[in-house]
Symmetry: C2
Subunit: 318 residues, 2 copies
Amino acid sequence: MTLDEILKEIKNAQTIAILTHESPDGDAIGSSLALKLMIEELEKEAEVIIPEFPRTFQFLPGAEQVKIDTETKNYDLVISVDCATLKRLAKNEYFENAKKTIVIDHHGSNNMYGDLNYVNPASPACCEILVSMAEYFQIHMTKEIGTCIMTGMITDTGGFRYMGITPETFEYTADLLRIGVDIPDVYKRIMGTKTKANFELTKKVISRLEMLEDGKVAFSYINAQDEKEVNAEPGDHEGLVNIGKDIEGVLVSIFIRQKEEENAYKVSLRSEDGINVSDICLLFGGGGHSRAAGALIQGNVEEVKEKLMKEIKKWMES
Amino acid sequence: MTLDEILKEIKNAQTIAILTHESPDGDAIGSSLALKLMIEELEKEAEVIIPEFPRTFQFLPGAEQVKIDTETKNYDLVISVDCATLKRLAKNEYFENAKKTIVIDHHGSNNMYGDLNYVNPASPACCEILVSMAEYFQIHMTKEIGTCIMTGMITDTGGFRYMGITPETFEYTADLLRIGVDIPDVYKRIMGTKTKANFELTKKVISRLEMLEDGKVAFSYINAQDEKEVNAEPGDHEGLVNIGKDIEGVLVSIFIRQKEEENAYKVSLRSEDGINVSDICLLFGGGGHSRAAGALIQGNVEEVKEKLMKEIKKWMES
């Protein structure tokens, strides 16, 4: 079984690195740090290499040990967590130079780019896969590992709210609460706290929000200049994408955010049942999940909006 | 044990009514409807009497049978759920005229005003108490009862986020998900969906939000005229109170909402650890929980703000 082979590789490796996807979110960071701590419970060491680390997650155990780069370039083992493709993997040169590679992920679109691949698309969060791995490896679940795990589970279930959440999600959460993981604290840190910059951006997104197609599509945007004005840091745009989605009657919510000093926007689409926004984003070279996907589109606000609406309208008419 | 006596009273009564507190929220309504369905599983009938029923909860099983008043005035048994005092109980004349009364609640401030009182302040939601009652009474947990129960648990834990949430909350949730309760749907209906009116009110609250006392206090308001402008219905102000609370550094969040056609505001205070807003509201004749409390204060926006800030500042200095 793959898990036995994974355990064997971890035990055999002298040097191990953990990577995750670009613009890492709570599940990417939670999985990376949880796996590092799990490997330490197996009496091995691992480096977590993440070039961009949002301030929100700096409270997590092990966050201070995260590296942007390491002197070692050729690891015995490199493990990718929460990342569907080699292309999206930040610092993927480490992956390519590794003697052995493992992919642990929950994206349905994962293309199995590792020597060993442990991919479960039924899992709402990569961190949830790590809980089952920890059980299988008989790793003692500590409060520290649990705090990282909860960060991923809360992030990727939108705070226990998204479809696809499993009874196991709630049972693991109960177990982690029992061993002392401060779930309300984790929840508040990653979901419930708006930085002042985030609040100012929220205000802008709300004031600019347009309802299109009879209220079925919500659209809003943030320019690079807006982020400058409020001294936004990585992570300060968290949650902006959900503002339109939560309004009654909205089937597709579009949020676009200008790529710094470029005539291009990072597009985030969110949808309700039935509308596969991953398909729409694929048309623009992006991708994601069926209800949450992204792409990069050239143009100004109006041009990007027009390009997207053309495809969304086609979808709605079909 | 109280639960045995409660079961006996339910089985002995020919006529049963269920009441809850004024301005009922998801836990009040969820508890009322869940208890009605539980009583039906015991092969008895019960009327739920709630004078004001927010649209948000009209999807719940049994919602269409809720009465504003009934012809029967003297019930054999009246059960109050999720209500700390007789004064706050809507339609409390039914309670006063009942042959026998039962109080089921989770407020620490409950003053045990029933003949039988089953009050557990350790329970994050009144609905969670009903789950343990259903287990004790060996009532078959149906998807319908579970949907009502989840509504209360999600409401009163703020969507699984508040302190005081228990491992049991998550375990019960796992069980209810397993028997088919659509938890993401319930979550979205009661927490994740903003009506258009609610969105417009949110916009106003955000644009008016003031940060006081070096960002430790957030203040915002809604006038009766605002609600008229957006055709607000009961429930359309849900969530407005949390807008200020979620901003980094805020210890106390004040949201005030004008009482229709009166020079008075319904005050809602929310706080972080250590600041007991129930104590502050008590000074104005209100009350609640230590982190979430309310009162009614006479005056215009500036006057109400000043009265509150005077007390909050005292508390902060002490």
